[in-house]
Each structure stands twice: as C-alpha cells, then as structure tokens.
C-alpha cells in the first residue's frame, strides 16, 4: 500500500509572462489526510494545485502521483487517480444533473462505452449522499451556486479518486452548504483519500484540516498541524492583519480579526 499520495520534488514554475515565480517546492501529501492550502491571494495556492493536477505545463522538478512519476502516467490513468475542482466552473448548457455526475465515470468507462450497472450505482449513491434526488433531471444551468457546487463534488467523488484537489470548495456558499461540504471532505479523508483543498478561511483550516500548507510568495512557508502552522503572529506578518486567538467549544484554537494594521 502506497502511503504517499502526492510527492513534489524541487518543483519550480514560471508563467510565460509576468514576474511571478513558483518554488522551488518539495513536499509530500499522505493518503487519509485533509490538507488545507492557506495563504494570501496571489501566493501560489492555485498554482500549486494546478501543478499537481498536471494542467500547468513547463515546470521543472518532479511530481509523483500514487508512487509513479506524473510523466509516466496516461491522461486517463491520471483521471482515475485524481479529481480536480477548479474555481469558476463552466456549466454545459442543458446538461441534467444525473448525466453531469455520470461524467465522473468517464476515466473509468472510457470514451466509447456507456455507463454500466456499477457506474450507475456509484452515481446514485453520490446523488443521495449530497441530497440531490429532487434535482436529478434538472439542468445544471438552472441550479443555484450551492446546488451546482454539490453536483460538482458529487461528480468528483463519482470519479472514485485517491486524490481530491479542490480550489476553494466553499467559495460563494452559505454557512450550511460550506459546513456540509467540509464535513464530507473530512470524512472522505478519513476513509483513505488524500484531500488537498485551498481554504481561505483560516478557521475552516483550523477546524477541519489534518495539515496546513502555508503558501506565501510562491513558496511553502511552513507545513504541519493547523494549530502550529496558523499561529497568529505568523499570519499577522503574512496578511498584515492583527489576529487574536480564542477557544472553540471543543477547546480548539480559532482566530478572530482584531484590526487591520
């Protein structure tokens, strides 16, 4: 059993234009862990996620997925191992919810076969798990932001990935949808998947993540337990915002904004 889901070795990347520089970053993500990427806008969180997903080309260094170099994997293998939810998704016009979630089976089924019985069972289970039964035949174009985000997550999980990459999964969502999503992601991590998510709210990271990767200026500043990495003094330096710690009901440290400096 491979325990390290994602390994980055001396990864650097530079966009074709502009002065931004990412890396060098070396880090490993274990299976069964919920990892939160935290850091200011433009720090390189999405870049890191896009590099792991393989969308960004032209990097230096090595990335391994489930024990094998990314370059040795076919696109379809990659699709079976790893699901990726980017920000600002597009909605294919008129696609019904069930069929959209069914696309998650594409890397398993391939381009020429129809979904089999097993695939339908998986899709149905996700529809139930996300409370989407009443929306089954609705077009994804007509859904609310929260509904569509749950549909996308259902699709990503129907992919049965070992690695789940999410760019701000709770963005634009109300408190209850966000809590539902984070709880489910935590569960998925506990069941053995490696979940790597960009989270903007440091308190979400403190409450849900097993590990935090703190990203700033294109580099990994610190990795480790959320309570250690997200210390108020360090964050104040990065964000330029004064933070005060307080305890949640479970005795976990959380952070409140005191004032901007």
């Amino acid at each position: 059993m491979v325990n390290t889901a994602v390994v980055l070795k001396q990864v650097t990347w530079r966009p074709p234009h502009g002065s931004f520089e990412f890396g060098p970053v070396s880090v490993a993500a274990e299976s069964g862990k919920f990892i939160a990427l935290v850091g200011p806008n433009g720090a390189g969180k999405s870049t890191l996620l896009n590099l792991v997903s393989g969308i960004l080309s032209g990097r230096d260094g090595q990335i391994e997925i489930s024990g094998k170099s990314m370059k040795e994997r076919t696109a379809r293998e990659r699709g079976r191992l790893m699901a990726f939810l980017s920000q600002d998704p597009e909605r294919p016009f008129g696609f019904p919810v069930t069929e959209y979630i069914g696309l998650g089976r594409f890397p398993h089924v391939g381009p020429f076969r129809n979904l089999g019985k097993k695939d339908r069972v998986i899709v149905d289970a996700e529809i139930k798990a996300w409370g989407l039964s009443s929306l089954r035949n609705r077009s994804v174009t007509g859904l609310s932001g929260g509904e569509f985000q749950r549909v996308r997550l259902a699709r990503a999980l129907a992919q049965e990935p070992r690695i789940l990459l999410l760019d701000e999964p709770g963005n634009h969502l109300d408190l209850s949808s966000r809590t539902e999503i984070l709880n489910r992601l935590k569960q998925e991590a506990q069941s053995g998947r490696c979940v790597i998510a960009v989270l903007h709210d440091v308190n979400d990271a403190l409450l849900y993540a097993d590990q935090v990767w703190l990203v700033s200026g294109g580099r990994l500043l610190k990795t480790g337990k959320p309570q250690d990495v997200l210390n108020p003094v360090r964050l104040a330096e990065i964000y330029g915002v004064e933070l005060v710690p307080f305890n949640s009901q479970d005795g976990l440290m959380m952070l409140g904004v005191l004032s901007t400096q």
């Binding site: 699901a83 294919p92 696609f95 594409f106 381009p111 174009t141």
Partner: protein, 338 residues
C-alpha cells in the same frame, strides 16, 4: 425505448421528406410512378421523368440531405467545444474562406483547378475553406481551446478580412458580382452524382468520427480544467474534433455555398427534443439537418417556379424566428444562457 423511437422516427421522416422532394418540382411526378421508376418498371412512363429523377432530383435531394446533415453535426461539435450556444462551424472561418476561394475562382477562372467532380469553383472554395480555417487556428495560438473566445475572435477577424478582399474583387469585377453573390447565398442547383459521391466520401466519415467522440465532447463541454481533470488531453481531443468538423463543413460549403442557420439552429432544436448527450445529439442532429435542408431546398425551387430562390435565404427566413422563440422560451431552464 424512447431513445430508439426518436432515432427510428428520424430515419422514416427523412425517407418521407426525400420522396416528397423527389416528387415535387416544375414537373410533378406521382409517388407510385417514382417507386416504379426506382424499381425499374418504368414502362409506359415518360422518358423525361426518368431523366429528371435520376439526373437531377435524386442527386440534388441526396446532396441536400448530406449537406444539411454535416452542417448540423458541425454545429453540435462547435457549440459543445466552445461552450457557447451561439457558435456554429462557420465561425471557424470556413464559410468566409470558401467564399473567398470561390470568388477568386469566379474572377480569375484558373481552369487547372478542378478536383474530382467538384468543378473549378467548388475546388477553390474547398481549398479556401481549409486554408482560412488553418490560418484561424494558427492566429488563435496555442491556448485556443482553453480560451475559446480567442479562437472565435480570430475567426471573426479573419472572416472580415476575407469579406473585405471579396468586396475588393467585386469592385474590380463588376460583371461577376451577381455570380459571386448567388454563390455566397448558397444553392444546391448544381449538385449532380459526382458531388454526391464527393460529399459522401468526406461528410459520412467525419460524422461517424464526431458521433463516436460524443462522450469526449460531453466531457469537453464542461470546460478545460474540468475535462483535463476527467482524464482527457483537452487540446488534443479538441483539435481532432475541430479538424473533422472543419473538413466536413468545408466539403459541404464547397458543393452548396454557405447555407446559413442550419449549424446554429438544428442542434438547439434537437437538444430541446432529446437532451444534450452529444453522441445522440450528433446522430439526431444529422437527421434534423438533413430533413430541414431537403425541405428548404424543396421550398427554394417550388415557391416560384421555374425560378429558384437561393436556399440560404429560405433557411435564414426559417432560422431567425426560430432563434427568437428559442431565446425567449425555456430561459428558466437556461438552455440558451449557457
């Protein structure tokens, strides 16, 4: 079950519409006599009927079906790939390139340019379509599929360029203006058996490829990042699909001129009837486009006999109100506001 019914209905309606189109025209040939002639029992029937059927109406009607079918499947592919309900295959520069090629041929008449049965103008139109489409892709650059608006913009820019050159050529060749205009409006009046063969050889394989890649188009229609995450190489898949779309459309335009609205309209209508799954959409739209163009061509040559209206005018007259209805209705379901 319902699925199969729609497909079978498509075949029957197309067959019926073809018989209708073959029967009507400046000379009316009754249906039973058509069947007699087709099955070889033409004794006692006028020899001219046989000639009209075999030489003119059957090839022309088949050409209409093949052209309409491939234009509609091209619309499915481009709308899916560009995630834009207003796209159609002509936006790739195909029709403007074909028009430019045809105009040059009409003006300069380089008689050495004549591929199997297409004629000088048709061959020039096909070459023009391919060259200009290729230019559009090059101009759009590497990230063309990632940001479809780049490709669409470069298509539109190059279309304007082609149009400017066409107008320039028209200015200096006033005597050819009518021919050029009529070619651009689209017509099937010159379609004979050699063109039917040429169309079949290119458009049928390209439609089969597009239908077999239907699920890939499904995945691509969810966006670049998403398609990549689902295990595709989006650029590569999109390039294959667009190449076959361009090839099929160019073949059609070379035969018939740029007949508008079919590529835009038919996929929407079929999507409303039978859902957005692209494999089915490609096949059903092929039938939809074939049926529509056979009917439109029938109208074009029978409304005011013996004269003909360019069939492109008929499809535009049908298409515009259709689009307005489509844009106003169904908005809640978000079919057009993709």
């Amino acid at each position: 079950m319902k699925e199969r019914k729609i497909s079978i209905a498509g075949i029957f309606v197309l067959a019926a519409v073809i018989l209708l189109a073959v029967s009507y025209g400046s000379v009316r040939i009754p249906l039973p006599d058509i069947i007699s002639i087709l099955t070889g029992n033409s004794e006692g029937l006028p020899e001219t009927w046989k000639l009209i059927l075999w030489r003119i109406r059957i090839p022309r009607t088949l050409a209409a079906a093949l052209v309409g079918g491939v234009l509609a499947t091209g619309g499915v592919a481009t709308q899916g790939l560009f995630r834009n309900p207003l796209s159609e295959p002509y936006l790739l520069g195909i029709s403007s390139g074909a028009a430019l090629g045809a105009t040059i041929a009409i003006v300069a008449a380089p008689s050495f340019l004549s591929a199997a049965g297409l004629g000088v103008i048709g061959t020039a139109a096909f070459l023009g379509a391919m060259v200009v489409t290729f230019t559009v892709f090059i101009a759009a650059g590497k990230g063309a599929f990632k940001l479809p608006s780049t490709l669409l913009l470069s298509g539109i820019a190059i279309a304007f360029l082609c149009q400017a050159v066409i107008w320039l050529l028209m200015t200096y060749n006033r005597d050819q203006v009518e021919r050029i205009t009529f070619w651009t409006l689209g017509s099937l009046s010159s379609a004979g058996w050699s063109k039917v063969l040429w169309l079949s050889a290119i458009t049928i394989p390209s439609t089969i490829v597009l239908a077999s890649m239907g699920r890939v188009i499904d995945v691509l229609s969810t966006g670049y990042d998403s398609a990549h995450g689902l295990g595709l190489r989006p650029q590569r898949s999109a390039a294959v699909i667009l190449a076959f779309t361009a090839l099929g459309t160019a073949a059609a335009v070379a035969v018939s001129g740029s007949i508008g609205f079919i590529g835009l309209m038919v996929p929407h209508a079929v999507r409303l009837l039978g859902g957005p799954s692209h494999r089915k959409l490609v096949i059903r739209s092929w039938f939809g486009g074939a049926i529509l163009l056979v009917l439109a061509d029938l109208a074009a040559r029978t409304i005011n006999p013996p004269g003909e209206i360019p069939v492109g005018i008929v499809t535009a007259l049908l298409g515009a109100p259709f689009l307005l209805i489509l844009a106003r209705g169904k908005k809640g379901e978000g079919r057009l506001d993709g």
